[in-house]
């Protein structure tokens, strides 16, 4: 388990390092990605556990507790869906806002997406949904937190970005 998280962390660094010229990948990098894929198919449960470990420590935007403490996220909230035709893993995360009219549900969705996208490799696709029936404007929020253009623009808004960073900061 620990070793898997460490692998994710290492890969995160690799990903950052490759950003400017990712096409320059050498055989070794490709091998790493391949190994990563094998590792995942070998143990879906382990993947779910590591995702959950990233989610549970996200702090609620206005309460002192974490999403786990508030039961916004729970172990069953992560599902591995059918892969894309190209074999890319599709992760579905569901969350349960504390109250049905929670005004911060969009922000929580944003935190979940940003944290996972930062810490998971690019070979994942991510869908985030509110637990069915848990919010009065569930469909609107689902649409918003899965629109990558809106997410990208939101993260360029300094105030919003600061809020998200605060919620997803890992305590050392």
């Amino acid at each position: 388990m620990l070793s898997f998280i460490r692998k994710l962390a290492i890969n995160d660094k690799i990903r950052d390092g490759l950003l400017p010229n990712r096409a320059m990948e050498n055989a070794e990098d490709i091998l790493k990605v391949k190994n990563q894929k094998e590792l995942i198919s070998k143990d879906e449960t382990e993947l779910k556990e590591s995702i959950y470990d990233l989610l549970r420590t996200i702090k609620d935007p206005e309460k002192p507790q974490t999403l786990e403490q508030l039961d916004v996220v729970y172990e069953d909230c992560i599902n591995i869906q059918e892969a894309t035709p190209g074999g890319i893993t599709v992760i579905r995360v569901e969350f349960n806002p504390t109250v049905p009219h929670c005004s911060l549900a969009t922000l929580i969705g944003l935190c979940i997406r940003v944290k996972l996208e930062r810490h998971l490799l690019a070979i994942f696709k991510l869908d985030i949904y509110i637990k069915q029936g848990a919010h009065s404007t569930e469909q609107e929020i689902n649409k918003q937190i899965n629109d990558k253009e809106r997410i990208a623009a939101a993260m360029e808004n300094p105030n919003l970005r600061e809020l998200v960073e605060k919620c997803i900061k890992e305590e050392e």
Binding site: M24, G86, E149, A153
Partner: protein, 334 residues
């Protein structure tokens, strides 16, 4: 089945590349993205090389770039709520005009075929039409027809007709009312069940293809008053009907679609990293057309494909842009 071959991988952008646009001559490519730069690539002997990097006009992501029909201007739309107009009067591209007015992210910009109008759209739900004077742009109209973000604007290939696609799941067609010079919504195309991300007219402009978060492509046909098949046209206005839905081909959001004006082929950019090419069947009935998937390029990119565009002059040449930070040039052959 057709074949899609990678001609070249253009590396240079840092982070997500949102959009690419061919120069009208087909000899250059402009690309833009998260790194707030516009990169211009040209074909030099046998390969594509970076020619210029345009910076400093925008403070946030550049969402779309569009080359003017004459090829002398580039318009760029940014999340910083502005549109920059670049000209090359000094010999190289410089930004000398900034169009301000939208309240927030500008998502798309398009030149009319005559080059006299520019259309822009934004998360503020409006579509703006700008008129071009002598190096001056004036807002001619603000169209508030959509109820949500407007994702894409595109002009008709030869008429002053404008189409827009929106987060409100609809596509709208606008034309100018002669006596008032106001742009009015002539048609609302309702059928998609989620955000419509992009659209493209066919060569004639009588047909449209749209792509959506609902993972389908839809083909729309315009029926003019007095059409031979007897489709009613209320108020003597043309209407657009969905004549074909292509579902089951795409596994995630379709971010872009382009209908080749030369070959009639349709190319799509999808969130499942795949570039797909569709061809209309030879015996296809225009009122009930059939299209088949002729090519599906798995892992065309290593992340979402955001944009795919046919070269306007060379049949079969495609350029694509992706979240993986690359721009790729492809050759399609039957």
């Amino acid at each position: 089945m057709g074949l899609l071959e990678l001609q070249q991988n253009l590396v240079g952008h840092k982070g997500r590349v949102w959009n690419v646009c061919w120069h009208p001559s087909g000899e250059s490519i402009a690309s833009c993205g998260e790194d707030k730069t516009i990169r211009i690539w040209t074909h030099d002997k046998s390969k594509w090389v970076i020619k210029t990097i345009l910076t400093e006009a925008h403070t946030r992501t550049i969402r779309e770039v569009s080359w003017s029909p004459c090829g002398n201007y580039i318009a760029s739309a940014s999340f910083d709520a502005t549109v920059a107009i670049w000209d090359q009067k000094s010999g190289q591209f410089e930004c000398n005009t900034t169009l301000e007015g939208h309240e927030n992210e500008v998502k798309s910009v398009s030149w009319s075929v005559c080059g006299n109008y520019l259309a822009t759209c934004s998360r503020d739900k409006s579509v703006w039409v700008w008129g071009m004077g002598v190096d001056e742009y004036e807002c001619e109209d603000v169209i508030n027809a959509h109820t949500q973000d407007v994702k894409k604007v595109k002009w008709h290939p030869d008429k002053l007709i404008l189409a827009s696609a929106s987060y409100d799941d609809t596509v709208k067609i606008f034309d100018m009312e002669q006596h008032t010079n106001h742009w009015i919504c002539a048609s609302s195309l309702v059928s998609h069940t989620s955000t419509v991300w992009s659209l493209s007219f066919d060569r004639t402009g009588d047909r449209l293809v749209t792509c959506s978060d609902d993972k389908t492509l839809k083909i729309w046909q315009e029926y003019k008053p007095g059409n031979e098949v007897g489709i009613p046209t209320p108020d003597n206005e043309p209407i657009w009907k969905c004549v074909c839905t292509l579902s089951g081909y795409h596994s995630r959001t379709i971010y872009d679609v382009d209908w080749c004006k030369k070959t009639g082929l349709i190319v799509t950019a999808c969130g499942d990293d795949i570039i797909r090419v569709f061809r209309e069947e030879g015996d296809s009935d225009i009122h009930q057309p059939t299209f088949s998937l002729v090519c599906s390029m798995d892992n065309a990119h290593t992340q979402d494909v955001n944009c795919s565009q046919w070269n306007p002059c060379i049949p079969g040449l495609i350029v694509s842009a992706s979240d993986d930070g690359t721009v790729k040039v492809w050759t399609y052959s039957d």
